[in-house]
């Protein structure tokens, strides 16, 4: 059987997720035994518009992007969103509750009129997405796990439970107990609680779980000492688009 052809695309984002793929090191060769990469501008010059699986990084932030996304959807058999910007709107969505003209002026100054822009959104707000690799950035392990699932014809195993589950299994001291403020209790797991393992907090980069108890989490944040505004900001960092949709 011919190896599936794989292409990478980027929209508004830092390309950090593709960097994670490029950094697969020893697993990269095993992976290339299963797929043929036909387009990946971070690591190769060649490009082909003939592909089976499209990995898309970045958010959709302007109308012109939609056309490009629709074209990718038409060509690819499977579309996979990789990284927070693509899966949940990511930190790009932070700007969505600000005045867009102000944002453009801040970023582009006098040339703002040259740069079109609209509310940042995840890929699935524009085209249907078949699979997600969450995270900011994605982890190599989960990327490989999703790719293996797709190659085997299996629905990728993305947890519906929050990061606390992994934190407990890893026997971490709860971030709240360390005097920190964490949104792990409402954030989708799958990262093996990597940030909390290292002594920091969960920022929520994998997005909200399907049915988060947001009020309870905000109450917890305030109970442990955050102001109401800070608690709301905690949610905005990564959950902006999802919260707006809910």
């Amino acid at each position: 059987m011919a190896k599936p052809k794989v292409a990478f695309f980027d929209f508004a984002g830092c390309e950090g997720d593709q960097l994670q793929v490029a950094n697969l090191e020893e697993e990269l060769l095993d992976l290339l035994g299963q797929v043929e990469v036909v387009s990946f501008r971070e690591v190769m010059k060649e490009h082909s518009d003939n592909y089976d699986i499209a990995f898309i990084e970045g958010s959709c932030t302007r109308l012109q992007d939609e056309e490009r996304l629709k074209q990718i959807r038409k060509t690819a058999k499977l579309v996979v969103a990789i990284g927070s910007c693509a899966t949940i709107g990511g930190i790009n969505s932070l700007r969505n509750d600000k005045d867009l003209d102000d944002v453009r002026k801040t970023v582009y100054g006098e040339d703002a009129r040259l740069f079109d822009s609209y509310a940042a959104r995840p890929i699935d707000a524009v085209i249907p997405v078949d699979a997600y690799v969450h995270g900011c950035p994605i982890t190599k392990d989960e990327f490989l796990s999703v790719v293996k699932s797709l190659l085997l014809g299996k629905k990728p195993d993305i947890p519906t439970y929050p990061v606390c589950v992994e934190c407990k299994k890893n026997e971490n001291v709860c971030a709240f107990e360390r005097g920190q403020y964490c949104v792990g209790p409402v954030t989708r797991a799958g990262c093996n609680s990597c940030c909390v393992n290292e002594g920091t907090i969960c920022w929520g980069c994998r997005g909200l779980v399907d049915n988060p108890n947001e009020n309870s989490e905000k109450e917890v944040l305030i109970k442990y000492g955050l102001t109401v505004d800070d608690a709301i900001n905690k949610f905005k960092l990564y959950f902006g688009w999802q919260e707006r949709k809910r």
Binding site: S145, L152, K154, Y161, E171, E177, V209, N213, E217
Partner: protein, 638 residues
């Protein structure tokens, strides 16, 4: 009782660590908290700890454990055994020791879990009497704060020395081999230990307003109490922290992880929890405990009622980990039960201890998690989404099932799913599975070809009591895929036709193109010893249907039967049971003449993983076949 100075105790621990044939674990600091971990020196030990983050069960039932390895070319195998070094765990509090004894009973019920006992049997437990108690701990109230059993050695801190109670010969041997200057305790030390133990019983800051032996009965009176569970779980984050840190929680999930060859991989068991959203969800998307209050309630019932009824113990040792790990502070059993007690009392309800349950624990042999290799010998597509697979075990053995039992089917790289056997045991050499394309396993199964390999575990479950049904009139009621398990009994009855009375089959599906076993159904219509009535919910214009149109219950008035001699055997989608049972009862069929086969998420098949639980019942083991009279009072059943 013995006594050892603290210096000599440290030497003893260091001597254990030095012996590389042992794996020495102890309580160490982790930030401001404590955790069991491998010891490098006795100086790391913190025997003054209050509670550890995780209980020591992680050494016997680890967070992640390979049950089976697989290779497309060679099949399934037990993972290559790592050498199991005897584990010496130092500093276990009494409540955690009681919890291990609970786990022992749970993991050996019906069949023993070999992975658990391999490690557990090779362990030596050195306990320590509590010196500092976590503010959430209520072990004294649960009778688990001081114990006289369950340990190999039990230490009590007496200032410059430890008193040592010897609980088991293994402990004494350890002392003899590795410890120096161990003396026999003097009267004052024995007295001091007694005093310390009495002090421990008064250390808890948590207080029940009633005797905890009332818990099972209190729960029974509160199951359907309007608003109670909603109120208490309103802030529940469904994060699972309370169950993941619990020393007596044992539910698990099993997942396949394939390497990049896509041909080899591992089947891994991981901790799971009944508070998590998808815990009771099945492949069709049906979730049997979809809301936070229902899952929150299940946790308390499992601990305080279901396990009590099955094993005779309340499966809570009062360690307080659930409370201390719950951010919204709603997981404190003492708070909850006190509230339950006062609310119940305020209604003027008398609460007396429940009658002691009659506990009958049987255990025989080990669980085999390794599937047998089998071959798909025939594949017949029946509808767009359903296929009949004929399967032969590669070792030439018979499946040996009873009608109504199920098997766990493994598809390489994907996982395992429970599928009921559709063929009668009278069919020899092979067996049949009628499979709907729904989840990962069944979808992949549909892409396999004749000659391809699968894995089979089982048969599991109780099956239909086909002996008891002999001489009775049988009314089969099948909705959709419900015909799959019923067919195993139906065909058995046809093969032994003279032994049974009247045989009636009512079979309904959504539309004619979804009719399963259509050729067999055509043949049935021609038999005069079977009454067969099919129905469809609707018939699209371009299809032909001469039978009944309407839901399955519209067939019930069309058959006459004698309620005295008739037994109804019912299987279908969850929604169907209520209506069918109602209409059968309307026809005066007694409750105990209604036999049901139920579907749940039967993940392990052996009554351990917890996913298929309906209140106190394990569908995989106690079912999937139930007499309606026995489960009509089980609220989650229908």
């Amino acid at each position: 009782m013995r006594v050892i100075s603290k210096e000599d105790f440290a030497e003893f621990v260091n001597a254990l660590i030095k012996d590389k044939s042992l794996n020495v674990i102890g309580v160490k600091a982790k930030g401001d908290k404590f955790a069991f971990g491998p010891l490098e020196s006795a100086s790391e030990l913190r025997l003054d700890y209050d509670v550890t983050l995780l209980p020591p069960k992680k050494y016997f039932f680890p967070q992640r454990e390979t049950l089976v390895t697989y290779d497309v070319t060679t099949g399934f195998a037990v993972p290559k055994a790592e050498e199991v070094k005897p584990l010496v765990i130092i500093g276990v509090h009494p409540y955690d020791i009681v919890a291990l004894l609970h786990m022992d009973e749970i993991f050996k019920e019906t069949k023993s879990d070999p992975y658990y006992f391999e490690k557990r049997n090779a362990s030596i437990i050195i306990g320590i009497n509590i010196q500092n108690m976590s503010k959430y701990c209520f072990a004294p109230q649960m009778g688990c704060a001081v114990i006289d059993y369950g340990y190999d050695l039990m230490l009590t801190d007496l200032g410059n020395r430890y008193a040592i109670n010897i609980g088991h010969a293994k402990g004494e041997e350890l002392l003899n081999k590795y410890a120096k200057n161990v003396t026999t305790a003097l009267a004052r030390d024995i007295q001091l230990v007694g005093q310390k133990k009495r002090e421990i019983l008064n250390m808890s800051k948590q207080k029940f307003d009633f005797s905890p032996e009332l818990i099972p009965e209190l729960l029974s009176k509160t199951y359907e109490k309007s608003g109670f569970w909603e109120k208490h779980s309103e802030k529940c984050l469904a994060c699972g922290s309370c169950v993941l840190v619990c020393p007596t929680c044992y539910c698990f999930d099993v997942k396949d992880s394939t390497d990049l060859s896509l041909e080899r991989g591992e089947r891994i068991r991981t901790w799971d929890g009944c508070l998590l959203e998808d815990f009771a969800k099945i492949a069709s998307g049906e979730n049997f405990r979809p809301t936070r209050p229902t899952r929150y309630r299940h946790r308390y019932f499992k601990k305080g009622k279901y396990l009590y009824d099955r094993f005779g113990f309340i499966s809570c040792v009062g360690c307080g980990r659930c409370s201390s790990n719950c951010l919204p502070d709603i997981a404190n059993p003492v708070k909850l039960f006190n509230d339950m007690y006062h609310e119940t009392k305020s209604l003027g309800v008398e609460i007396t201890p429940a009658a002691e349950p009659s506990v009958e624990i049987q255990t025989e042999g080990n669980i085999d998690y390794v599937p047998k290799l089998a071959t798909i010998v025939k594949k017949v597509s029946m509808t767009a989404n359903e296929t009949l697979f004929e399967i032969k075990l590669d070792d030439g053995s018979e499946l040996g099932h009873k009608p109504g039992q199920f098997v766990e089917v493994s598809v390489f790289g994907i996982g395992e799913a429970p599928i009921s056997v559709s063929s009668s045991p009278t069919k020899k050499g092979t067996f049949e599975l009628c499979v709907r394309k729904l989840g990962n396993v069944t979808t992949k199964l549909h892409t396999l070809k004749e000659g391809d390999k699968v894995g089979i575990r089982g048969p599991f479950g109780n099956g239909f009591d086909y002996e008891f049904l002999k001489g009775k009139d049988l009314l089969f009621v099948a909705g959709g895929l419900g015909i799959a398990p019923l067919r195993s009994l139906f065909n058995y009855v046809l093969d032994n036709r003279e032994k049974y009375g009247r045989v009636i089959l009512l079979y309904g599906c959504k539309e004619p193109r979804e009719l399963l076993f259509s050729e067999e159904m055509l043949a049935l219509a021609k038999r005069d010893d079977v009454e067969f009535k099919p129905t469809v919910n609707w018939c699209p214009e371009n299809e032909v249907w001469t039978g009944n149109i309407g839901v399955i219950t519209t067939l019930i008035p069309q058959v006459s039967f004698d309620p005295e001699s008739t037994y109804a055997v019912v299987c279908g989608p969850p929604i169907m049971y209520k209506f069918v049972i109602h209409d059968l009862k309307d026809r005066n069929l007694p409750d105990d003449h209604i036999i049901l086969s139920l579907e749940r998420r039967m993940k392990c098949g052996v009554g351990k993983c917890g996913h298929c639980q309906i209140n106190q019942i394990y569908v995989c083991k106690d079912g999937p076949v139930f007499n309606y009279s026995k489960i009509k009072g089980v609220p989650e059943a229908l």
